[in-house]
Point group: C2
Chain length 412, copies 2
């Protein structure tokens, strides 16, 4: 933790003004999980009857809190969320399961609810037992300070090496009743010795039944968080959860395809996309945001794989860091994706500048113009495969020496 990184140059210029979400109150505290004298726990309380949905890491070695949440998701009900930093409670075996059970027990007692309605997330060091007895007394005290504002507090409480707090908000009407959505996220963070972990929590006062909420969230994640990569590494703890309190007074909706949800679906999509882009903008060491558009693939799935092959290529990412419109490396990354592609049909553009067309360098492409484009903070790379109608877009950031410094240099 020797790095006090300056705020990412890609940080949004303003922090959104997020209003209260009816039925949601929160407070933060210092539990001393790993370090003394810093906020390391977030407690969020939600009204009775809140429904819950979640999407978690695909890792075969998930953390204990991820397993806890997966187990409790079946109940469909949530009363509280407890998030800590400093310890990921991952690869901690039986002790890890005991720690999640104890955390939930203390939180349930503090709020007077069932343990199965408590959801948990942890980020921090891996493999160290989490001493959940530290929550004893702390969560009770925290529960006396719950308030609906300001949202910047929970956004800050879950940061690790994030250089800015990530918030997004939107509203919609359901059957004429206004509902609000508020979301927070943390991105690539590190507490030595640890790894990048993505956590995001979205709250709404709409009334949506748990299975419908899960369908909306599972669909929403595909083109938002699942379309972002910083380094291709998957955390043991990645967690996106959504809570719907129903406290806005809108009618309960049980079908995710209900026409009354049209505006809500759009609003949710916007919040998830906003948060996901903020995660990419705060990638460790990032100096440039890179949007990779693939068109003309044989399917969306194929386009996604090609786009991810480009987005995860260290050679492409270092070229962007060097402000080099290195389309040869794009060809390489398309070639290694293992998806249908033919060299002689490829078209590659940086921004609006077509640099390669039909299997060869575009004779009209202007090196000076391209070099000027690469100095931008946001770089759009478009690859047309020329085979079909499948398209997709993913986001990543460049790979800089600062990434190495953050992840490799702290043993001085």
């Amino acid at each position: 933790m020797s790095h006090a990184s300056p705020v990412s140059p890609l940080a949004p210029k303003t922090t959104p003004d997020v209003g209260p979400v009816a039925g949601v109150r929160f407070a933060t505290a210092e539990a001393g999980i790993r370090y003394k004298g810093r906020t390391d726990v977030l407690l969020v309380e939600m009204d009775e009857g809140t429904s819950v949905a979640g999407v978690f890491t695909r890792s075969k070695c998930p953390s204990a809190p991820v397993e806890w949440c997966r187990d409790n998701l079946a109940g469909g009900r949530a009363r509280a969320l407890v998030v800590n930093s400093g310890n990921a409670n991952a690869f901690t075996g039986q002790k890890g399961r005991e720690a999640t059970a104890l955390t939930a027990k203390i939180a349930a007692r503090a709020l007077g609810c069932a343990e199965g309605e408590i959801f948990l997330a942890s980020t921090g060091v891996i493999g160290e037992p989490l001493d959940a007895t530290k929550y004893d007394g702390v969560l009770e005290e925290t529960a006396t300070r719950l308030a609906p504002l300001p949202w910047i507090d929970p956004a800050r409480a879950i940061m690790t090496t994030d250089t800015f707090p990530k918030l997004a908000t939107a509203s919609a009407t359901i059957d004429g009743v206004k509902v609000r959505i508020a979301g927070i996220a943390k991105g690539a963070g590190m507490i030595a010795p640890d790894m990048a972990t993505m956590l995001s929590f979205v709250f709404t006062d709409a009334a949506i039944a748990a299975p419908a909420l899960q369908a909306l969230l599972s669909r929403g994640v595909v083109d938002s968080f699942n379309a972002v990569t910083v380094d291709g590494d998957t955390s043991t703890s990645d967690t996106l959860m959504m809570f719907a309190t129903g406290a806005a007074g809108a009618p309960m909706v049980a079908d995710p395809k209900d026409a009354r949800l049209a505006g809500f679906r759009r609003a949710l999509k916007g919040v998830l996309a906003d948060l996901a882009e903020q995660v990419a903008r705060d990638g460790e060491g990032a100096r440039k945001l890179v949007k990779i558009h693939v068109t003309g693939a044989v399917s969306k799935r194929s386009a996604r794989r090609i786009a991810m092959s480009i987005a995860n290529s260290p050679l492409v990412k270092t070229a962007v860091a060097g402000e080099d419109a290195n389309w040869g490396r794009i060809v390489m990354a398309v070639g290694k994706a293992g998806e249908p592609a033919e060299r002689d049909l490829l078209t590659i553009s940086f921004g609006d500048i077509r640099v390669a067309h039909k299997g060869a360098r575009d004779p009209d492409y202007d090196e000076a113009e391209t070099s000027a484009y690469m100095k931008n903070e946001v770089i759009d790379i478009t690859v047309d495969i020329g085979l079909g109608r499948g398209s997709d877009r993913v986001m990543t950031c460049d790979l800089t020496k600062e990434y190495i410094a953050i992840n490799g240099d702290y043993r001085s």
Copy 2:
């Protein structure tokens, strides 16, 4: 090309003394393909009746020379190999095919053989047409200087940003007759704007029919070159070819499983493993060689995928660069491989030090001892999955700021 990198600290301490391989002669020249005043072409002539085998990039966008070689491999016969640096002749469309045809025509005329017996490889800039007329006269003159020694010349001629020439040799007896194997390789090289390209050529004076040679090579590559990764990026031009002149006078062998080949198979395996390790030792910016051993997986294929997931993880590679025995990142990489694995069965060791066992930190592991181990130049990481009997080993190098500098900084 602004980097004159010092020799990798991982370079072998001595260069092997490689003797002549009967039936193989070579010379190098300056054809001015991209730069003036440097050796950029290698011509190797082989005796009539030489059989040939090859293994090439799996890229869907292979270079024109790769396509040329694939086409001619069916003939099974080789008389010459022409390798150039400075231009990869990749993503060059119809012009690229014309350039390979013209190169082969000039070489065939110079040596008095058929164009279908000429094999080609190129490394360098992508997307620029290769002006093969530059070979006119050059290859004829080069053909007048062919000699069986010294092997350091061809090894140096194919280097780009390699920091040391890569050679390996071995001998064996076939039916009592001594045969020799000599191999050269180039690793992660870059000629701006370009990418890593692996080229390797192995020569023997044994007499082995082309289909048998192909079987030996295809089998040999699995645990040598295919088990090495520098950055997970696959070149459009990766090429490994093997030539058997038959000039040692050993009997012709047509069955790759022939018992008389037992010693030869071992010798070939040694040469391929040696060259592959040298490529890993010269990974761009490498300061440490990392050997990743996976045991207890459900199959060798599963073990390979898990090992590659670890070897290609930027977080694991930066941790090794930082001399940090960060087994949490190993857990992460096992988890993201998508292969059968259970957290509570995993055992992880650095060298002989067991740091994690059965899903949790090993209580006996000594942090100071582990930190001392991580200062070594060669790091062995062993992961036991605890599920089956599949095992595998791959090699990689650490990820340092110098990698970023080599691949991102040259636009000053």
